[in-house]
């Protein structure tokens, strides 16, 4: 027994020495392979590459490169621009006719030859992306009974969409028509300013019917995956990485150029593990761990690589307006006005976030900018906050000690906890109130805040699906779809509904913005049913040899990136 242990240890020691000597050198040659650490796909496996089922940013990041939509969002201006198609809209705003770029082939990565190949049909002809492929994708998302979330979103905007989604009408009745090989017509159920964006989202991407029929639930694994965009799927090691490879058959367009990169390897990594790779030179781009921001900013090399840009989410505190003392707008306003947002950002969140007084992010189409509507901004003023609270107490004839206690709830997370503690302290110092902090596990928390019995104050965040103010103000707070337990049901809430519903169909951009500004006024100022806190930023690190664009909405367009191989060590 003892001798065997010794032999083992000698063997292991040899093995260790050998491995240490070998070290690690990754030779890329002169191919441009970009390694992204945790920035593109985050810290857990990409859930799916089925355009009908994708709901999360990492799935969409891959799909946006492999299967571009009819339209797509410019990553810098956030405007909707032609992608696989150009389009015209009928005068009544209902009929969208898309002219699809001809002769873009379906492609597939062949692992044996290590090359991307064109897909051939049963007669040996090249398969081109057609209007039929887009129609198939849309019909599958809406009528496939797959439980497609975004299929459900789109269903509301297409003629007969809701009935087809529910299985009450056959999928042929859907307002999607193939006029010829490269022309697709979608008939909307109601006009809206942002329909060209919705029809360009992933649930409406072209899908390969012949692959899906053969491979079923597993069709988008690398063995069978087919795409047509600037990149296609090369490798997917579940939970470790996903790699896309340049599609040499992509013709290149003004908006979607032929990629300069040969491959993009997106590594699934937790933030501090990603940073370690970046610092070791093993990654070209990395996500930023919040705990390291101070060090990165102080470091001469890392601070050069550090980038802070607009994110895609807003951080707010929702208020249950049915629970005293928050059933009075003055108390809610007092809470909102006594948060020092800039101090919170400088000392707690540290990611260069922007103080928020409106809910809809300013980068969204039709979103009002808070500096353009100062009369609608509640602002910060501790003196006024104290007066508001005092007038409330006087009216009830009670003292501060007799006021009901306030509970502030957030889901378990170190970041949310620190923010809550800072705000708790600000409220205590400014108003003298005591606030109890409550935490819950994520899934439990979601049920809590979506019930009418939600805590008095609760943390919430919302990220864009498509860059229009509608996606924030209507999709979260219109009473038809509202889930948050803010119990906001007074006359102002009814007026808010009518404003955002009017803005939905209003064609003129400035008028829409004005309508949304009035809606923000009711939600965040007059009634203060929510307390906007900050607009998220997106943080990343990029090595100096990478030329890139910085996306403002959560996904990157790698076909616009390049690597200077001569500058890479």
């Amino acid at each position: 027994m003892k001798r065997r242990t010794l032999q083992y240890s000698r063997f292991l020691a040899l093995l260790l020495v050998f491995a240490l000597m070998v070290g690690v050198v990754s030779a890329q040659g002169d191919r441009k392979v970009l390694v992204d650490a945790g920035n593109a796909v985050g810290a857990s496996d990409v859930p799916t590459l089925d355009p009908s089922l994708a709901t999360d940013t990492s799935s969409i990041q891959v799909l946006i490169e492999t299967n571009p939509g009819l339209t797509r969002i410019n990553e810098v201006t956030l405007e909707t621009e032609p992608s696989m198609a150009t389009w015209t809209v009928s005068d009544d705003g209902l009929v969208y006719t898309f002219s699809i770029m001809p002769e873009v082939p379906w492609v597939k990565y062949n692992a044996e030859t290590d090359a991307v190949e064109q897909v051939l049909d049963e007669n040996g002809n090249v398969r081109y992306v057609t209007a039929e492929d887009f129609a198939y994708g849309i019909r599958r998302s809406i009528g496939g009974q797959l439980g497609s979330y975004y299929g459900g979103i789109m269903a509301s905007w297409v003629v007969n969409g809701d009935a087809v989604y529910a299985g009450e009408l056959p999928v042929e009745e859907l307002g999607v028509e193939v006029l010829d090989t490269y022309t697709l017509q979608i008939t909307a159920s109601k006009p809206a300013a942002f329909l060209s964006t919705i029809f360009g989202m992933w649930q409406a991407y072209a899908q390969p019917a012949w692959v899906i029929e053969e491979y079923g639930d597993f069709w988008y694994e690398p063995e069978s995956f087919q795409g047509y965009g600037p990149f296609t799927l090369k490798e997917w090691i579940h939970g470790e990485s996903i790699t896309i490879i340049k599609n040499p058959f992509w013709p290149g367009t003004e908006n979607i150029p032929v990629p300069a990169l040969d491959e993009v390897k997106m590594m699934v990594l937790e933030a501090s593990a990603a940073l370690a790779n970046f610092e070791a030179g093993a990654a070209d781009v990395s996500i930023v761990p919040l705990s390291d921001i101070d060090r990165i900013q102080a470091d001469p090399v890392l601070s050069e690589a550090y980038y802070v840009g607009p994110g895609s989410c807003t951080y707010i505190y929702g208020i249950n307006t049915a629970k005293p003392p928050l059933d009075d707008a003055r108390v809610r306003q007092a809470l909102s006005m006594s948060i020092n947002r800039q101090a919170l950002i400088d000392n707690v969140t540290k990611g260069g976030q922007q103080p928020a007084f409106f809910f809809a992010r300013p980068s969204l189409a039709a979103a009002p900018h808070q500096e353009d509507y100062p009369e609608y901004v509640l602002g910060e003023d501790v003196e006024v906050a104290r007066e508001l609270l005092q007038s409330y107490l006087d009216e009830r004839g009670i003292t501060l000690d007799q006021m009901e206690p306030i509970t502030l709830a957030h889901n378990e997370s170190e970041g949310h906890a620190r923010i809550a503690q800072a705000i708790q302290q600000m409220w205590t110092e400014a108003l003298g109130i005591t606030v109890e902090i409550q935490t819950q596990e994520w899934a439990v928390y979601l049920e809590t805040i979506k019930s009418d019995d939600a805590p008095q104050v609760f943390r919430y965040g919302w990220c864009l699906d498509y860059p229009d103010a509608h996606n924030f103000l209507f999709d979260v707070f219109d009473s038809q779809v509202r889930e948050l337990g803010i119990n906001w049901n007074n006359e102002d809430a009814a007026e808010f509904d009518s404003l955002v519903e009017q803005a939905m169909v209003e064609p003129d951009m400035q008028t829409r913005t004005d309508l949304y500004a009035q809606a923000e006024n009711l939600l965040t100022n007059k009634d203060a049913a929510i307390i906007p806190i900050y607009y998220y930023t997106s943080l990343n690190l990029t090595q100096p040899w990478v030329q890139r664009t910085h996306s403002q909405f959560g996904q990157e367009y790698f076909e616009k990136w390049d690597i200077d191989l001569s500058a890479r060590p």
Partner: protein
């Protein structure tokens, strides 16, 4: 002995059944569901998903279906529809009837939509097992000799050094040791890749991070156990009959002193090969460990059940092996 093993295997089935029932009840009693998110699914979308995964049935039926899919063998067509709902662990072609015998379908993952519990475990268990065996080797190679040296040189400088180091080892969790190793050897010295999986160079740091704390525990256990054995009468007898100290310690004392160590190694082995959440996050390893945690936060019911049953199975088997090893270590132990 054979009868003993058979009896224990039957007991194992019963234990696994109880584990499955208990886990099922507890996980379904917790609020929240697999499709909860900031953006709630509209009721019509939720209904489609619940129908797809049979979540619209009464709970009792869901449990019966779940156990049925695992326990009851099916004879089916040779080619099944490519669906995450019918991925069986065991598929045996029966030529006589030209059909396929299929057994043990642990269900789909609700979160990774193209994955099943079987495919997740097939992908990740080999990774975690490789790392776990590496960590166990580190633990044994450092821990047992350190314990022996400490015991034989009791209250000497060597004893203090070995036990001092082991106190440090027990006190430093993987979440601290891992990033330190990664920073020193991966970022600063660049001797090893900071994260990743694939080659022997990827195993060294995580295996050491995981194994070091265990080695410290084993060292303390080995020391204590060996010291106790060295005071036994039969050791005095062995010495009295003039055996060399090497034989006394190596043959008589050590073998008996290993009993408690082996007892610990059994379950330790089961836990190590099923992966470590922290080590996998720190070193970017696509292992099974993170599924034990993420499946719960995601309410990914089949993955929760699958990982729990797998761990239960491995702990029971490891304990069974330990019991068998006892017989070899200590001839006084007999199973009838």
């Amino acid at each position: 002995m054979g009868a003993f093993i058979v009896r224990r295997m039957l007991q194992m089935l019963l234990v696994l059944f109880v584990i499955s029932l208990f886990t099922f009840v507890v996980m379904r009693a917790v609020p929240g569901g697999p499709f909860s998110s900031e953006k709630s699914l509209p009721p019509r979308t939720l209904a489609q998903l619940e129908a797809k995964y049979n979540l619209d049935e009464p709970l009792v039926m869901q449990y019966i279906h779940y156990i049925g899919d695992i326990a009851i063998p099916h004879i089916t067509e040779n080619r099944l529809e490519n669906s995450v709902l019918n991925d069986y662990l065991i598929n045996i072609y029966i030529p006589v009837v030209d059909r396929t015998f299929r057994w043990m379908n642990f269900g789909p993952s609700y979160k990774s939509v193209s994955q099943t519990v079987n495919s997740i475990i097939k992908d990740t268990l080999p990774v975690s097992a490789t790392l776990g065996i590496g960590a166990l080797l580190v633990a044994l190679v450092i821990g047992v000799p350190a314990g022996i040296i400490a015991a034989l040189n009791r209250n000497s400088r060597w004893d203090y050094i070995a036990m001092g180091v082991s106190i440090v080892g027990v006190s430093i969790p993987v979440i601290v040791l891992g990033p330190v190793l990664r920073y020193v050897f991966g970022v600063q010295l660049k001797w090893l890749p900071p994260t990743g999986w694939g080659g022997i160079e990827h195993i060294i740091m995580p295996a050491f991070a995981l194994g070091f704390a265990e080695s410290a525990r084993l060292a303390r256990l080995t020391r204590a156990s060996l010291l106790q054995v060295l005071n036994e009468d039969y050791i005095r007898t062995a010495r009295a009959k003039g055996l060399a100290e090497r034989v006394v310690v190596g043959l008589h004392a050590l073998k008996n002193a290993m009993l408690p160590v082996v007892t610990t190694i059994g379950p330790l082995f089961a836990f190590l090969i099923t992966g470590s959440f922290v080590a996998e996050l720190v070193f970017g390893i696509p292992g099974l460990g993170k599924f034990f945690v993420t499946s719960i936060t995601n309410r990914d019911y089949p993955v929760i059940m699958g990982t729990t049953l797998l761990l239960g199975f491995l702990v029971i088997v490891a304990n069974l092996i330990v019991d068998v090893v006892y017989v070899w270590l200590d001839p006084r132990i007999k199973y009838d």
